[in-house]
Amino acid sequence: MNGYAKAGKAGLALLLAIMAVGCSTAYREASTGLIQAAAAGYKEEAAPGGLIKVTYQGNQWMLMYQVQDYALYRCAEIAQGRGSPYFVLYQTLPDALQNRSSNEVRPTTLLGIPHAEVYIALRQSAAPGTLSTAEVLQKLKPAIAAVAK
């Protein structure tokens, strides 16, 4: 096999991989590197005031409610992973500053593709405006599992 043929096969394999990841509507972590732009998935990063910014980037095959559910599920997963039985959800940083909590993720669109971005604060005890980590996980798990990876 000559060099061109090998390069062609590698290119085709990469293209197929991008298509497979990019077309999926399953719950997943956002890919990094070469195929990042094509892939849907979640990401999180530290935000001011101890908050955690959670984003879920959809793709053109996903519905708004899927991104809504997936983002909230990821928030609960993060809370569970850090040993917090409760968390507070904020739509924006100004909302967090004014303690305007929310009980649902409100997705938007970026170039016609669903996208969600929220902030969470982890809590050890229940209080007005907190969401139960266990309850969110339990409620959304069937929807997450229904879409096979």
């Binding site: 053109q60 519905l63 708004m64 409610y65 409100r106 669109t109 170039l111 016609g112 593709i113 669903p114």
Partner: protein
């Protein structure tokens, strides 16, 4: 004479193509337990295409999309289709316009609504666009012309060529 025949054939072919693009149930406004969609499209200018589509959904979350009608050649005011409705079960549907002037621009507007039909009723859903499709609204009326309350999500369930669009606002490409 040969030129005229060619022109006539080309026109017939165009009509056939446009007719082939139309799909969906016929307009039957007297059918009980039904919803008839009307399109009042205010788009102006010479159009390559002026059309509309109707989709229904299994839930208000836009799951289970079914295309009910798709017309690619329409007048400014025209009935699009009549679809059966199930009494007591919330019905989510989307009405979407599409106006095409090719390189000059292509645009439309889409509205998704949810309402709960009652047994035996006949409904009309009127999509009215405004300011050349900058905004659009849907009004649902029963057979007595009474306005039926409906809910409208932030984003339309209908996927346009530009993806998911805001409910009742223009999309363009």
């Amino acid at each position: 004479m040969a030129a005229m025949t060619r022109k006539s054939s080309a026109f017939s072919l165009l009509v056939l193509i446009l007719s082939g693009c139309a799909s969906g149930p016929a307009f039957q406004p007297d059918l009980p337990n039904s919803l008839t969609a009307h399109i009042n499209n205010d788009a102006t200018g010479a159009m390559l295409l002026r059309g509309a589509s109707m989709h229904t959904y299994a839930s208000a979350r836009c799951e289970g999309e079914q295309r009910q009608a798709n017309k690619m050649s329409m007048a400014n005011q025209e009935a699009l289709a009549t679809v059966p409705v199930k009494a007591g079960a919330p019905l989510t549907f989307a009405l979407t316009t599409l106006n095409a002037q090719s390189f000059k621009g292509n645009w439309g507007c889409s509205v998704t609504s949810t309402f709960t039909p009652i047994a035996g009723a006949r409904y009309e859903a009127v999509l009215q666009t405004k300011d050349d499709n900058r905004t659009c609204t849907v009004t649902i009326l029963d057979q007595d012309k009474k306005v039926i309350p409906a809910s409208h999500p932030d984003y339309s369930c209908s996927r346009t060529i530009t993806g998911i669009v805001k409910n009742g606002q223009r999309y363009a490409f």
